[in-house]
């Protein structure tokens, strides 16, 4: 009798362990997929930038520095290795693009241009997609981390070697900085 009870209890524990393990695997795959989504959007931004620069080059002849800064930041981001490095360089690229768009506002012939506006929309869309992909990644990674850290789950996670997923944080100072606006009226 007691043998049967023991076997039954063991079977229950085994079932629970299996279910728990499968849930963690499912979450981990979602985390991996979330990370890939960010990558896809970053790649897309890299592809869009040369188009944009070629379109505006003529009209923005006097802003050569800003354009070159964008291209240089883009090339550094393409060459980045590892998530931490990529995170920092992509942040710098975002900042360079932000400066470029702020400057482009002062060129009416540019903002009126159909191609430029379409490209600007594509880049805005891509920026947003990067942001939302990160947001989704962080949400799902937090869910996964919690599942590996709460009391019964952490036993399985410990045995099966589920490591905590790294959250995406703003790593570059340039991206974290709040844009400063000077509204004081200068007297000439």
């Amino acid at each position: 009798m007691s043998v049967l009870v023991t076997i039954g209890a063991l079977a229950l524990v085994a079932l629970w362990a299996m279910g728990s393990y499968n849930k963690l695997v499912g979450l981990r795959n979602q985390v991996t997929n979330g990370w890939r989504q960010i990558d896809v959007q970053l790649k897309r931004r890299h592809d869009l930038i040369p188009n944009l620069i070629n379109t505006v080059k003529g009209a923005m002849e006097f802003e050569r520095d800003t354009l070159e800064a964008v291209v240089a930041a883009r090339n550094r981001a393409v060459a980045a290795s590892g998530p931490a490095d990529a995170g920092r360089k992509e942040g710098e690229l975002s900042a360079a693009l932000g400066r470029f768009f702020a400057l482009a506002e002062s060129y009416p012939q540019l903002t009126a241009n159909q191609n430029v506006r379409a490209l600007q929309e594509e880049l805005t869309g891509t920026e947003n997609k990067i942001g939302f992909a990160r947001q989704f990644y962080n949400d799902i990674a937090t869910k996964y981390n919690t599942a590996t850290q709460v009391i019964p789950g952490n036993i399985i996670a410990g045995f099966a070697g589920f490591k905590a997923a790294e959250l995406f944080e703003i790593t570059s100072e340039a991206e974290r900085a709040v844009p400063s606006v000077d509204l004081s009226l200068k007297k000439g």
Binding site: R117, E122, G125, Q135
Partner: protein
């Protein structure tokens, strides 16, 4: 109420709506058979069989093709062909990107996108699950809203997709349409039976009584259907709670982290008071704002809770402003 409760509730209610619909049509068929049994003493349950076949196939059609029916009734065109027709329209590209953004933010597959040729700003989502979903916006919405506001509206619709609100609301819209069609058919059948049937001499040789009896029967069915149709439509629409809009607004804020933009969008939609003519009454509950602009939605109480499809707009806007820590 959270996301999973809402999903479960919508699944349950979808079943309930289909069962209620099949049951009511079946009742109509049984009544018809009972009447013909009393009149002719011949019992072949034609009415019941036809009712069962009709209601079963209609319910199945509504479940699987209800989204097509709803979209067709608004004369919506899909975004790809709208873009091909007018490649220079920036708003289409914007919508295309915003849909992708919200699909990424919610982690759902990208839904099909449609444009409704109507100047009033409105939007709706339809389909049966996130894998078979469509989001439609009017031309007026694209003209009226900024990019951020459009993002809020699309996030709101994505939340309806994720909640399975679309399944319940699409079924209700399709079945309300089917009930209206049924009333229409029996009206036509009765006219044909009454005038066409009695004018021709009967060839079956069983006398003139048959045509008269059939006409009377159809008259009875027609009357029942006419009386029942709005009731059934009402009953079905009551399954759709007004609360769903608050939940979708809150989920939208969670997706965009920008509740203020959705509040601005709702204000902009509300300030254009003209009704959305492309969207019919049966589909009203699908939309982000009541396409008919009925005042019943602005109130509370038994009457409003029974007949309104949407919560008061100012309450939704206030709730969103509170999320954004803004005061009006």
């Amino acid at each position: 109420m959270n996301l999973y409760e809402q999903q479960a509730r919508n699944r349950r209610r979808t079943w309930l709506v289909m069962v209620v619909f099949v049951g009511l049509v079946l009742l109509l068929g049984l009544l018809l058979d009972a009447a013909s049994y009393a009149a002719e003493g011949l019992f072949v349950p034609v009415g019941t069989i036809v009712a069962l076949m009709y209601s079963g196939s209609t319910a199945a059609y509504s479940y699987f093709k209800g989204d097509r029916a709803v979209l067709a009734s608004t004369r919506a065109v899909d975004l790809a062909s709208a873009m091909a027709a007018d490649p220079s329209r920036l708003a289409y590209r914007q919508l295309d990107n915003v849909i992708d953004e919200m699909a990424i933010a919610s982690g759902l597959p990208r839904p099909a996108v449609y444009i409704v040729p109507d100047r009033d700003p409105n939007a709706f989502a339809t389909g049966r699950d996130p894998g078979h979903a469509a989001i439609a916006v009017t031309e007026g919405l694209l003209d009226t809203l900024s990019r951020e506001q459009l993002q809020g509206v699309v996030a709101h619709e994505m939340s309806h997709v994720r909640n399975f609100d679309i399944r319940l609301m699409t079924i209700v819209a399709a079945l309300v349409g089917a009930v209206a069609l049924l009333a229409d058919w029996s009206a036509r059948g009765w006219r044909y039976g009454a005038f066409g049937g009695s004018a021709r001499p009967s060839r079956s040789g069983r006398g003139k009584g048959e045509g008269g009896a059939t006409a009377l029967l159809l008259l009875a069915v027609w009357l029942v259907a006419i009386v029942l149709a709005p009731l059934v439509a009402r009953l079905l629409a009551m399954m759709v709670s007004r609360q769903r809009e608050f939940l979708a607004d809150a989920s939208a804020a969670e997706l965009t982290r920008n509740p203020g933009a959705l509040a601005d969008a709702l204000e902009a939609i509300e300030s254009r008071v003209e009704p959305t003519t492309a969207i019919h009454q049966g589909s009203a509950q699908l939309c982000i704002a009541d396409p008919l602009g009925r005042t019943v939605n602005e109130g509370h109480g038994r009457w409003a809770d029974l007949f309104a499809t949407h919560p008061p707009m100012h309450e939704r806007i206030d709730a969103l402003r509170a999320m954004a820590f803004e005061k009006r």
